[in-house]
Symmetry: C2
Subunit: 190 residues, 2 copies
DNA sequence: CAGGAATGCTAGCAATGCTAGAGTAGAGTC
DNA sequence: GACTCTACTCTAGCATTGCTAGCATTCCTG
C-alpha cells in the first residue's frame, strides 16, 4: 500500500514538473517553442513519459491553463479587496486583468485564446475559473441595474478580452490602451 | 512588352488562384489543414511555386486576410445602408459583424486572431480594413457624445471581437449570444 | 535555328507529434 | 536468499510539417 502511495506521489510530482516546465517554456519563448522534445529534455525524461501523463500537447496546455485560472483569480481578488469604493473596484479589477494578460501572454493564451479541451461555460469548468469569473461579477455588480449579472459579466469580460487580444495582435495601438480601458469601464458604469 | 505583360497577368491570376484555394481550404477544414502540400496539389502546381509568390504560409494567410477585409467592409456597408434610424444601424452593423465571424470563422481568424505579418493600426494598413473600421465608426458615431470617435470605435470593436472569439472558443454559451450582443449595444448607446 | 534565361519540378533536409517494441529495473513469491 | 513477473522508461522509427537546393524543361530572343 505504502509503496503504491509513494509511486502515486512521485507521479504527481513529475506531472507538476511537466506542467511547470511547459508554462515556463511557453512564457519564455511562446507556445510554438513548446515541443515534446524540448519539454522532455527540460524535465529530463524521454518523450513517451509525457504521453503517460497527458493525452498530448493539447492536454498539457490545458493543464497549464488550469493553473493560470488560479493565478488570475488570486490577482483579481487582491485587486478587488484593496479597492475602497465600488467604482474604483471595477477599475482596479479591470486593470489587474489587463496587467495579467500583458505580463503573462502565453499563459493568457492557453486560458482564453487557444483551443484547449476544457469545459468552460458549464458547472464542470475548473473551480478557479469560476472564482475568477466571480471576481469580475462582484466588481461589476454595482453597475448591473436591471441587467442580468451573469450576462453583463460575460459581456464586460468580452470587452476586456477583445481589448487585450487585439492590442497584443498589433490590431490596436498600444499607446491608447489606458484610454480605451477607461472608456470601456465608463460605458459599463451607470 | 506584350509577352511580359501576358506573363505578369498569368502570374497574377495564379496568385489569385492560390489565395482563393487557401481560403476555401481553410473555410472547409480549418487553417491547420492548409499545408503547403495540400495547397500545391489543389492549385495543381508543386510546392516551390507557392514560395515564388509568397514568402511562406504566413504571407499566404495574410493575403487571404486582406481579401476578407474587403468582404467584411462590403457586408457592414450594406447593413448600415439598409438601416432606417441610427439606433437600428448600430444594431444591424453589429449583427452583420457577428454573422460574418460566425459564417466564415477561418477567414475571420486570419483577419483578427492569427498572427500575420500585416500593418494594422497604421495608415499603411489595407484600405479595405480602413473601410470596414469606418463603417463601424459611422454606425457608432451617434452614440459618441464627448468621447473620441476613434477610441470609441476601437473599444466597441473590441467588445464585438471578444464576444465572437470567446463564444467560438467555447468560453461563452452560444444560446445567450443575442442577449449579450444587445447588452453590449445598449451599454454603448447614450 | 541555335543560345540563353526564366520557370517549374523532383528530391531532400530538419523538425514536428506521436507510438511500437525492446530493455530494465524493482516488487512480490516461494 | 533466489526467482518470476509486472510495471516502467527508453531507443528507434513513422508519417507529416515548412521550406530549399539543384536539375530539367520550356519558351522567348536574336
Amino acid at each position: 500500500m505504502s509503496i503504491q502511495a509513494r509511486r502515486q506521489r512521485e507521479r504527481a510530482e513529475r506531472e507538476r514538473l511537466i506542467i511547470t516546465a511547459a508554462r515556463e517554456l511557453a512564457e519564455a519563448e511562446g507556445w510554438e517553442a513548446v515541443t515534446t522534445r524540448r519539454l522532455a529534455e527540460r524535465v529530463e525524461y524521454s518523450q513517451p513519459v509525457l504521453y503517460s501523463h497527458f493525452k498530448g500537447m493539447d492536454a498539457i496546455m490545458a493543464a497549464v491553463a488550469v493553473e493560470g485560472f488560479a493565478d488570475l483569480a488570486a490577482e483579481l481578488r487582491a485587486a478587488r479587496a484593496a479597492a475602497t469604493d465600488p467604482r474604483k473596484a471595477l477599475a482596479d479589477v479591470s486593470a489587474a486583468y489587463a496587467a495579467f494578460a500583458e505580463r503573462r501572454p502565453a499563459l493568457y493564451d492557453a486560458m482564453f485564446s487557444r483551443t484547449v479541451d476544457l469545459p468552460f461555460a458549464t458547472p464542470e469548468a475548473p473551480a478557479a475559473l469560476h472564482a475568477a469569473f466571480g471576481e469580475l461579477s462582484e466588481a461589476i455588480r454595482p453597475q448591473a441595474g436591471d441587467d442580468d449579472l451573469g450576462l453583463l459579466t460575460e459581456t464586460f469580460w468580452s470587452g476586456l478580452h477583445g481589448l487585450m487580444t487585439l492590442m497584443r495582435g498589433g490590431r490596436l495601438p498600444r499607446e491608447d490602451h489606458d484610454r480605451r480601458l477607461t472608456l470601456l469601464i465608463s460605458r459599463f458604469s451607470r
